[in-house]
Amino acid sequence: MRRRAKERLFFLLFRGCALVVGLALLIIVGYIVFLGIGTISWEFLTQFPRRGFTQGGIFPAIVGTLYLMALVMVIAVPIGVLTAVYISEYQGKSRFAGWLRVAVNNLAGVPSIVYGLLGLGMLVLFFGWGFSLMASAMTLAFLVLPLVITASREAIQAVPSSLREASLALGTTKWQTIRHHVLPYSTPGILTGIILSLSRAAGETAPILMTGVVLTKSILPQDIWDTFMAMPFQLYALATQTVFEKTKDFQYGTALVLLIMVVLMNLAAIIIRNRYREKYKW
């Protein structure tokens, strides 16, 4: 009987832990929605800021974040997916693949601020790219590369080997098998990883802070070598460098728009993954 009581006590404790986590999410999201919802309007989303972030909107910061995400996608996705194909389909046990796996694991643990230092030291100064959209996007691409690789690898390895063997037995080459049988089935998993990676890139602040983001700019970036505005940095800079009472609407509004964007991307990723889990049961 005492054993049962003990069990009940511990289970209650664990339920409490889960409850705390759920509550933390609810409070944070709820509070930011509550504070920011009043600021959001069509004007706020489509206009440039005026009078030191007290009037107008955050249009250029939204556009900057979208440009950044698009560039990160163009750079990181092909490299990440192809690397994942290489690791899981070609050289599973070779020494080079072993090194590659170690490199990917370690890259995943490198702090974002260190990527920022790399971007500054290598891309901005050594390559002479200057403070630019391109330098920031490349830095973020480095940062999300391990995420793309890991997610894609897991998706590819979830495809049963019987499928590959059946295809190969019909006389196709390895690449044909991958192209027509392995990749189509792993696409949803890869897509999930890509969306999560991009949402991570959208919210990162430290790396872009050191490689090209600016607080104010009267025009949109003209090309990839131009500086740019972005939501996470705008939130950080307004919150730490301006008088709170003056710009608080902009702070709450920026936080909310960024949060909504990132949460929607996360939900989309989760939905895609769950649907595909039900669709393909091996």
Binding site: R3, R4, K6, E7, F11, F14, R15, G16, C17, A18, V21, G22, I28, I32, P78, L82, Y86, I87, Q91, F96, V102, A103, N105, N106, L107, G109, P111, I113, V114, Y115, G116, L117, L118, G121, M122, F142, P146, I149, T173, Q176, L196, S199, A202, G203, E204, T205, A206, L209, M210, P232, L235, Y236, A239, T240, F244, A255, L258, V262, N266, I270
Partner: protein
């Protein structure tokens, strides 16, 4: 007909070969990036080894790089602040994270799990700058105004304030990784234990958790690495004053904060600039070591159950 088939077969084989070569080259990129991180951190901090007294850098108790008479670069205040926030956040996140994991994987009703798991994933997706903003504008005020003077934190923005939100970032990492570890414990082990008359709690405590321990250790190491390297939360929440203190309720400035705040204000190739890269190198070394331990634990784990 036969001739044509032979040609296409040849072409396909050539194509296959070409794809292999391309994939190999592309895969080099990840290794190059890691090498670039190490090389550029080293190159950019190398001058600091001579310009700055290294003994003073590692043992100095004062960080005052903008001192007009003579800048002082002592890393200890920053390192101690990093240790304090990491320790406190681990203290909060590890029990809560593991408790939530056990709840999710062993106790929760499937319907609850269906809601809670995505919720934790969404929590993982919240940008650190938003968490930092929340800590700065909401939570710091809450801590300050809820407790009477004498009981409340010594500073409005303090290390504890940052640690709470680092813990919120760590929990989802711990949950998702250690849940994987617990789920891959063979079911036969669990069933054997239950069949011997153990309660579910005893089974969990004495069978499942020990079996999953390497995976859980890896999860904790990776989440601690994340806390050590996290920047925006501590920049915004801990109040930026590089003082040497072990008191979590006073303000402080961890290593990551220092880099983020000061890198924008220094000119390239000045001593201060090189010192900031050296701080980056220290940070890289710490996270590299944590990763190494996690990797080792993980490898041991996969060896055990395959």
């Amino acid at each position: 007909m036969a001739y044509r088939q032979r040609v296409t077969a040849q072409r396909r084989r050539f194509y296959d070969r070409a794809v292999y070569v391309i994939l190999t080259i592309v895969s080099l990129f990840a290794i190059l990036v890691l090498a670039a991180v190490a090389v550029f951190l080293f190159i950019n901090s190398y001058p600091a080894f001579f310009l700055i007294d290294q003994w003073q850098f590692f043992t100095g108790t004062v960080w005052d790089p903008t001192n007009p008479i003579e800048p002082i670069y002592g890393m200890l205040p920053l390192l101690v602040a990093t240790l304090v926030v990491t320790f406190i956040s681990a203290l909060i996140a590890i029990p809560i994270g593991l408790g939530a994991t056990i709840y999710l994987s062993e106790i929760a009703h499937p319907r609850v799990r269906k809601v809670l798991k995505p919720a934790i994933e969404v929590l993982a997706g919240i940008p650190s700058v938003v968490l930092g903003f929340f800590a700065l504008t909401v939570f710091a005020k809450f801590l300050w105004e809820t407790f009477a003077p004498g009981w409340r934190p010594d500073d409005y923005l303090n290390l504890f304030n940052g640690a709470v939100f680092l813990a919120i970032m760590m929990v989802p990492i711990i949950v998702s990784l250690s849940e994987d570890a617990m789920n891959s414990v063979p079911r036969s082990l669990k069933e054997a234990s239950l069949a011997l008359g153990m309660t579910r709690w005893e089974t969990m405590w004495k069978v499942v958790i020990p079996a999953a321990r390497p995976g859980i250790v890896a999860a904790i190491m990776l989440s601690v690495g994340r806390a050590v390297g996290e920047t925006m939360v501590v920049v915004m929440a801990t109040g930026s004053s590089p003082q040497l203190t072990w008191n979590p309720f006073s303000s402080g400035q961890p290593i990551t904060s220092t880099i983020a705040i000061e890198i924008g204000e220094v000119a390239a190739n000045t001593p201060h600039y090189h010192v900031l890269f050296e701080l980056g190198l220290v940070l890289f070394a710490i996270t590299f070591a944590l990763n190494f331990v996690a990797d080792y634990a993980m490898r041991k784990y996969t060896e055990r159950y395959q």
